[in-house]
Subunit: 430 residues, 2 copies
């Protein structure tokens, strides 16, 4: 058997512990499969003495992860600390600069600085791998870089944040409101005390930027992703979606358009019977559409110690086997800077919910606003109530331009009979 | 850029043509991703002049694929001919013995002789790869060998034959009978003139043997797979499944049991809402259950020129990138011979449909047959008809042993009031 692959672990939170549990529990199986042992040599974390689900006494300890990154005994450093800059960036840079490979679960860092770090890795003969950074245990980075390497990808999209999907699924199942379900998710530990990374779409947008980079050969660019979260999704929208045959999902979509690359992350309606519409709870799903393979769908757990640990170990096994690849599938020097298709150029159908005074002429006024922007209505739901209260009007449109839709919404919002800001959701054809 | 990977193609049917179309159409993209060109040097097929969707004039022609396998200019031979022995076996042996790697779409050959061929490959420093042999474009071989390499797999199962799934899906959608739908599928070209490989489960069982080999580190052994096809699935069973909340799928299941490895391929009832229950038409799906990842689901097109060509090219890209791996994920010398758990040791729920005389006491007799084998009934559907005709009784059981169930069925079949052989289907908990 060959020499062991010598591993340093920076960060012993959920993912770090999950990774160590696999490396300790399956050491023989992994060695048989890789042809060499995967040997943890050193670890670093904020606290050495904090109770952990796995023993760490056998490993060299570093208070400072930068010193761990400098340890000459290591072949590879696992960056499992997180944070879009600061120590995580320094550790990654230091390890790569020293020719050590890095397996990173840090989507924030990579979405912002993936190109720079990929170049640094290549310049130093190191590998930068990040299967655990996207969709937890689903081996989607490998699938895009290798399993579907014969394809020109047209579109890649998915449910990339389990917390948001759990909240939307629970809202649908119970009819309860966002704030209520979020509070429960926080109490159960499914959502962070500060939930903004999850529910505002930031976390999922980080992952989308990475998927887009691999699928389209571009430098990851978080600031080119259009991001909207799920705070504005109302229980009533979920109920109307159900009635119309849709489900509301927080979807990340990267697609080649006639004018460039669109990257957008927002709640949208998808057909209830579509593969993505069926994915409920904390699960993640990614769909890749390629010119050869057609549609390929990957579903699994997007977070958690063991699933994300599974992805870390997958990258380690590649390194142990000597399978070296470019971070984003092509040499970093050839990564293009995408010409971005802005969200205003999105073309598709829309769902609208208005709250209006229940009197004659309102519908005609709304219809006029839409017609003036060449937006045509496909379906409408209006239920008359025998009260003086404002009533909802719900409608879906045929394909329209986002820019035109926004103009129409502005005009509708300005109508005297319209009592609340109109709610709009994009409808995606999957 | 490095030297080109020099490819010989044996077999220019659907998969061969689909592969050439990708290699010709995406040559630049593939070279950019692999760091070297994928260059087809030679081809061989039954007829040189037959009209084909891709030009082959630029390639060296061999009437005899064995001569192609001996061409010293080649790095890799694509075995896209098929057949569980004969020329396909000879070509594969010859190429591997000469140190050339082989990418094979030939599940029949590999399910019977995969162990022998893996040993031959390793002995000669060659790679034997077979992503296109299992589930078409879904990169499931790579996912199991690499993406989930950190997992001890508990169970792997899936819909592995698109023709059968198309037939079952169409039967469900239309209420029509097997023979009728099969005839239509044949007319449409979805099913072969001799459909037995597909509808009798042979093709899917080949693939299951390969999945089991990778997932459990055993030598593939087709003759250890329990195989039942879908000819006996009646339209009425599909209707009852729907009523009970199930769908009937032809599933291949490999699972670790307390006593060994169970490998079985048969129609069964699965929850209509399960990921696998939702997979309709010609699609394939594979679910891997691992101790770390939990449940990971992969869905895509299981056949066709472009999807299967996508899988061939994925293997070629690995070879071009220098990613070499053992055929079944571990050195062939360490592949175990599985201790097989026979189907008689299967434990699970069952669906039964009986056709009985509509008179008093029949139900009691049936119940006695079941009770004597410790099989307990979970649900029963019986509808009285005001005629003299035999009536159906449909029931589902709680978990029972297959051996006991078979005894009970024998006793039930022998009852005087039972007018047709009882129909039974396994119910799988997914």
């Amino acid at each position: 058997m060959n020499e062991a692959l010598r591993i340093g672990v920076a960060g012993l939170g959920t993912v770090g512990s999950g990774t160590l549990a696999i490396l300790q529990g399956q050491a023989e199986l992994l060695a048989a499969r890789a042809g060499r042992r995967l040997e943890v040599v050193a670890v670093s974390a904020r606290s050495r003495t904090k109770p952990r689900p796995v023993p760490i006494d056998a490993y060299r300890w570093y208070d400072d992860p930068l010193q761990l990154a400098a340890d000459p005994a290591l072949d590879v450093v696992l960056e499992l600390m997180g944070g879009e800059d600061g120590v995580a960036l320094e550790v990654t840079r230091a390890a790569l600069a020293a020719g050590k490979s890095v397996v990173s679960a840090n989507k924030a860092l990579l979405a912002h600085r993936g190109g720079e770090l990929a170049r640094l890795a290549e310049a130093n003969g190191a590998v930068l791998a990040f299967e655990p950074a996207v969709a937890g245990g689903i081996p989607i980075v490998k699938a895009l870089k290798e399993g579907l390497a014969g394809n020109r990808v047209r579109r890649v999209y998915g449910i990339l944040n389990g917390t948001s999907n759990y909240i939307l699924s629970t809202m649908r199942a119970t009819g309860r409101d966002f704030a209520d379900v979020l509070a429960e998710a926080q109490a159960l530990g499914y959502a962070e005390a500060d939930p903004s990374f999850d529910v505002d779409g930031i976390d999922a947008a980080h992952k989308l930027a990475l998927l887009a980079a691999i699928a389209f050969g571009v430098e990851p660019a978080f600031d080119q992703v259009h991001v909207e979260g799920i705070r504005q999704v109302a229980a009533t929208d979920i109920a109307y979606a159900e009635e119309l045959g849709y489900r509301i999902k927080l979807l990340g979509i990267a697609e080649a358009t006639d004018h460039g690359l669109a990257q957008r992350l927002h709640p949208c309606m998808v057909p209830a019977t579509s593969p993505i519409g069926q994915v409920e709870g904390v699960f993640n799903a990614v769909v890749a559409e390629g010119d050869a393979v057609g549609v390929a769908t990957f579903v699994g757990r997007g977070a958690g110690d063991a699933p994300t640990g599974s992805a870390v170990v997958a990258d380690l096994m590649d390194l142990a086997r000597g399978h070296r690849s470019h971070a984003f599938g092509v040499p970093s020097a050839t990564l293009a800077t995408a010409r971005i298709t802005p969200i205003s150029e999105r073309r598709g159908a829309y769902y609208l919910r208005l709250t209006v005074d229940d009197r004659a002429g309102v519908l005609a006024d709304v219809a006029t606003c839409l017609r003036e922007q060449n937006v045509s209505v496909e379906t409408m739901i209006q239920r008359h109530r025998a009260t003086d209260q404002p009533v909802p009007i719900v409608l879906t449109t045929h394909e329209a331009d986002e820019a035109a839709m926004r103009e129409a919404l502005r005009a509708i919002a300005a109508l005297r009979a319209v009592r609340e800001p109109p709610r709009a959701l994009r409808i995606e054809t999957l």
